[in-house]
């Protein structure tokens, strides 16, 4: 069954994900679109998913979303972040479970849906279709960032085992 993962291990990963989230927030987004991010944090969730299991990935992702919003954001950013993070996490879990896709592909899907989730929430809350353009831009940006994160993830997987930290 499941090995008991160390609390400390999860804590370190949450902290790392938070740092990545903070770092990428410092980089000005070219399109000034709400939610346009590099998606660096997904690297932690992705590796956790593959090396520690679904539950760990969900926990790390969830806590990271919550803490980042509480510390650096507000109610709005929590909504966007939660929508994007959870949707992307779910998609990645499902795709990985099928066993038919490699990590890069799973990451691409995660990147896309991370952004799409945020934009959909924005469209619902702001009641505007004007964001439809951003949907397209973010779809492509998510694809690209997911691809890069996926490559990074596969490369790191060769050397790092999160469950043996």
């Amino acid at each position: 069954m499941k090995r008991a993962q160390g609390l400390a291990r999860h804590g370190i990963l949450v902290a790392f994900a938070m740092i990545l989230s903070y770092v990428e927030a410092q980089i000005p987004a070219f399109w000034a679109v709400p939610g346009m991010k590099l998606g660096l944090t997904n690297i932690v969730v992705l590796l956790a998913l593959y090396q520690m299991g679904t539950k760990s990935a969900l926990v790390i992702n969830g806590i990271r979303i919550f803490l980042v919003a509480v510390l650096f954001g507000n109610g709005m950013s929590l909504a966007y972040s939660a929508a994007g993070g959870l949707l992307s996490g779910l998609i990645m879990i499902i795709l990985k479970k099928t066993g038919r896709f490699r990590m890069i592909t799973v990451s691409i899907a995660g990147g896309i849906f991370h952004n799409i989730g945020q934009i959909l929430v924005a469209m619902a809350l702001l009641q505007t279709k004007a964001l439809a353009w951003y949907l397209v831009f973010l779809w492509c940006a998510g694809l690209a960032s997911g691809f890069l994160i996926g490559i990074l993830g596969e490369a790191l997987s060769k050397g790092i085992r999160l469950d043996e930290m």
Binding site: W31, A32, I108, V136
Partner: protein, 127 residues
């Protein structure tokens, strides 16, 4: 982790994602109608409305003394100057289609192309 290989399933899924992305862009571009009016909102409230035919430079007063310069020319609109620290609104390109908008978050300024009725604002003032 053992070496992963590209499989057909990967190609198909990624291919679908790429196509959807492209399709979305193409669809929006084709279906988008050229807008007629452009609405300026500051802090959520409509400040002004212009016609896309009203060529010129317009000053927008954002929140907390911020300012943006809206330029309308040849049926397109963009922000040329802004007091905000990031200046992202100036890089959002020129808009001309129904529904497109440019946002300046620090100044809470939104310029949007819309034909929606201007219930709260006037198109112009005749003196």
């Amino acid at each position: 982790m053992k070496q992963q290989k590209w499989k057909k399933a990967d190609g198909i899924l990624i291919g679908i994602f790429l196509v959807l992305g492209l399709l979305g862009g193409v669809l929006l571009f084709l279906l988008g109608e050229r807008g007629q009016k452009i609405q300026v909102r500051v802090g959520g409230e409509v400040q002004a409305m212009y016609q896309l035919a009203d060529n010129g430079r317009y000053h927008i007063e954002g929140v907390e003394g911020g300012s943006n310069t809206l330029v309308i020319q040849d049926g397109k609109a963009w922000i040329e100057d802004a007091s905000c620290p990031d200046g992202l609104c100036m890089h959002m390109g020129k808009i001309m289609q129904q529904g497109q908008s440019i946002v300046c978050l620090p100044n809470q300024v939104v310029i949007e192309i819309t034909d929606a009725g201007a219930e709260q604002s006037v198109d112009g003032v005749v003196r």
